[in-house]
Symmetry: C2
Subunit: 104 residues, 2 copies
């Protein structure tokens, strides 16, 4: 029997958009991105502004999953894959993914 | 009069240690790091394991500050500067800082 992996994961991505800062295109991107927060399993969904001058990224998106199975479901969800194809790959010029598990 | 900046900041750093995985030296580093969570102004202090294969970092530390002034106080606090000098600069081989503001 498969063992359920119950480790909570905080998934985040930091990125740069090709759009001008404060542009309508930038707002439209985040309006589309926010719909990802409604995909089943997604908790604590946040759109973030990256303000450290120690890295080159301008924005972040963060969310949590109760376990790896829910994270995998999100990754394969048609609304997520459509967003990646139709928006992310066309509008994001650089990004880095970070996945955290809390050390107990 | 100076205006109070009341934007909440989530400060995090992702990093690699020079120590062997699961070593006593690694545990000792985190035992020292956890004391940073007691510095005034620090909220939601967490030590994290970085598990994405899309980047080269192995750990994270995350915390929040209610405003930039409290973040600055933390940065200049003698317990923080001592940790940076005595532990961080000697035991961390690579790192990246990320600071997030929540987009309302």
């Amino acid at each position: 029997m498969a063992q359920l992996n119950s480790t909570r994961i905080r998934h985040s991505v930091i990125f740069k958009l090709k759009h001008a800062k404060g542009s309508a295109e930038e707002r439209d991107f985040f309006n589309a991105a926010k719909k990802l927060g409604a995909i089943p399993g997604v908790e604590k969904f946040e759109c973030l502004k990256q303000v450290s001058r120690e890295n080159k990224f301008e924005f972040g998106i963060s969310m949590e999953f109760a376990n790896q199975q829910l994270y995998d479901q999100y990754n394969n969800h048609p609304e997520h894959t459509a967003f990646v194809q139709q928006r992310w790959m066309k509008e994001v010029v650089d990004f880095m993914e970070i996945d955290f598990e809390v050390i107990s």
